[in-house]
Symmetry: C2
Subunit: 426 residues, 2 copies
């Protein structure tokens, strides 16, 4: 298997002034394409550190991607360091100078002299086009390793890797990229997902991976291109069947995107009434472009007075059952649906912490209601108390999940990993 190394350059990464997001992105992209990063080093902007890194990486890999150090300033030493490492000079690419001049001319500016440097690459180097920036990428070979030099700016880096470097690696490997299938899930822990999927037999070379990004977990299946289509389909079906009601997307659709697609398909409308989630449900929904086509309005009724004034929740039921209770959250959902004249309404009321818990209703206790044309569905759960933010995020996901399950004719209630059911019913 091809060994691929990554060298990240930049003092700002080592001082913590910027967070290197390119490396995690590259690691995932390579995996999805059936490759694997085998070694990754981060070094500063000094000449000797760069030369040292090139030497180490070239001894340990077949391909090395060098990221950063192609800018116009004096800290940007990658091209010069590569030339020094190879004991050669730099050449100026006239085609790149022309490109830079055009770039500045189109903005009615003259190319600053400092940018000329960005057209200089080692004598033995081959240009690798950067269609979205002023830094010229290039490739040099040494110690039987191909080194690709790329700019640090994430958008430029990603464009070059996707459009040019990855295709070159795929061509070199003489093997087609694996087939990649995804399932985005909510509600099951990673260990439970693994328990459920372990009994499914995988064809040789197929790999199942998990990637958690709270509160959702992505499952990725990579199958070698050589696998028969019918086998892949059967495998995909087996996994889908196992996970079904917990999967909200088989692509990269966010949960709110999925809800939006379902709402638009049916041509129905939604309002929200939030207490502990405090606007997060509305925020997730409205963060998707086009949400105005179904999302009408939301009430963040944080105080009890607001629950009464805006949603018509009777004062007596708040007094009798408490703000975090099934009767209150049901009245909130019905109040919002009525007031907003929408087909559906979602409501939450809970104890996000860190204060406010009791023996009966500890921090993490959250009541949810979904008002529909067929009546109100409600549940009260004790979610794992991993801090205020996570309690609120998981609550938001549970609320959206109830609506998603309703719209896809799945059972609305389930046992989410790590949470305790206090009540579920219609």
């Amino acid at each position: 298997m091809m060994k691929i190394a990554l060298i990240s350059t930049g003092e700002e990464i080592l001082t913590g002034d910027i967070v290197d997001t390119n490396s995690a992105w590259l690691a995932e992209l390579l995996s999805d394409a059936g490759f694997k990063l085998s070694w990754h080093v981060t070094v500063g902007d000094a000449m000797e550190e760069l030369v040292d890194a090139f030497e180490l990486a070239s001894q340990r890999s077949d391909v090395c991607i060098v990221n950063g150090g192609l800018g116009p300033t004096t800290d940007d030493l990658s091209a010069e360091a590569a030339a020094q490492w190879k004991h050669e000079g730099l050449k100026e690419l006239s085609v790149w100078i022309a490109k830079l001049e055009d770039f500045y001319a189109s903005r009615n500016r003259v190319m600053p002299e400092s940018n000329r440097k960005q057209a200089h690459i080692p004598e033995s180097g081959e240009m690798v086009d950067n269609p979205v920036g002023t830094a010229c990428g290039f490739k040099v070979s040494h110690n039987q390793c191909d080194l690709y030099f790329t700019p640090g700016v994430p958008f430029e880096f990603k464009t070059m890797v996707k459009d040019q470097i990855l295709p070159a690696l795929v061509a070199e490997q003489h093997e087609s990229m694996p087939q990649l299938k995804r399932w985005l899930t909510f509600g099951l822990s990673e260990s439970l997902l693994a328990d459920w999927l372990d009994p499914i037999e995988l064809p040789q070379g197929a790999v199942l991976g998990y990637r958690s990004s709270m509160p959702t977990i992505e499952i990725k299946l990579r199958v070698p291109a050589s696998c028969a289509d019918s086998d892949v389909k059967a495998l995909e079906k087996a996994i889908s069947n196992r996970l079904d009601p917990f999967v909200f997307s088989t692509g990269k659709q966010r949960m709110a995107q999925r809800v939006q697609a379902l709402m638009l398909e049916r041509g129905v409308t939604l309002s929200t009434a939030e207490s502990c989630t405090g606007g997060m449900v509305a925020d997730w929904l409205i963060s998707e472009a086009g949400s105005s086509a179904y999302f009408q309005r939301g009430y963040v009724t944080y105080s009890n007075q607001a629950k009464q004034d805006d949603l018509g929740v009777p004062k007596e039921i708040i007094t009798e059952h408490g703000a975090v209770s099934i009767p209150v959250v049901e009245a909130m959902a019905e109040g919002a649906r009525d007031k907003a004249q929408t087909d559906f309404a979602l409501a939450t009321s809970g104890i996000a912490g860190p204060q406010g818990g009791s023996d009966d209703k500890p921090v993490g206790t959250v009541a949810f209601a979904l008002a529909t044309p067929d009546g109100v569905f409600s549940q009260m759960l004790v979610l794992p108390n991993r801090g205020r933010t996570l309690v609120r995020k998981v609550s938001t996901a549970v609320a959206l999940d109830m609506l998603r399950r309703y719209l896809t004719n799945q059972p609305i209630f389930t046992q989410y990993s790590g949470s305790k059911i206090l009540y579920q019913g219609q």
Copy 2:
């Protein structure tokens, strides 16, 4: 200066299945304490890769922190690899076995045999306590380098670094930690901040750093411990004076935390009326524990009907001026303040994109209003259009910034970097 290396271990980082957050955290922590990471490598879980990494790091640094590979499974090879590298065996720490047995006994469980491994460290190693987990940390020395072995679990790693490893480094350096001052700012670009602060003369050894985490920028000043207190105070004052109205915190307080502190100081209350920010203003505020003491309720009036029904915005002014206009956003703020009977109300209405822009009101055009006991302050800005999410985030920050400026008796309106002012007034 002491050279510090970091070795991150774990296949899951190289495959992209988990994102390594420990390294950026460590880089920042070391910088804040006057150290600097000089080299960082990430390798997989194979014996030869680990031994190779130890050798490379020890040749390039005085201290090396090794992160990961101390778990109970067969992939966890760090201790064994360290012993192999040093040509020695492993020893079992009876004190750690006793700790593990206690740990499991207190949970009414018997220690699984696999955990015994977590008490095994190289013969020449010294134990480094891990007070919050089952993996024993340790230190070994080789090639004139001290290597500290730490668990990959972020909470355990951070606790050990802060409580034990960092103090050991400080002691070894025979120099006090630098003084660290912070300013969290909103509204100025990094280049403008640099232009403003560049003329301020820094004492020898002092360093000014910028860390952007949209939409705010943190400025950090590190001054050598040897600097006279009066000089540091003068410098701090000069920087504060230069930045003043743009600074919302001189610690780590988030913007919503700062607003909360100011609201509680005055004993006043707040409501919100959001259109384009769609719940994000309420969400930021409610994400802070204790927000119920001043935040009463929020209206997410996404549709025009909701603006009329819930906030009493007259239909005619929507028709005449459009939903994104000063008259509408002022009516929203006044409506919320009236309805909720709060001292203050914040309102937003804008075009977050990607669709919906026009020549007059391009994507990024957002109207803001702050209703106060002294009347309504409002502005309409064209924010930089860097995508729907960023337009909404920056809008949320502008809204909170208006309230913060009012509560601290600063001018409510300013020129935010990159945005165009269409209207500002009371």
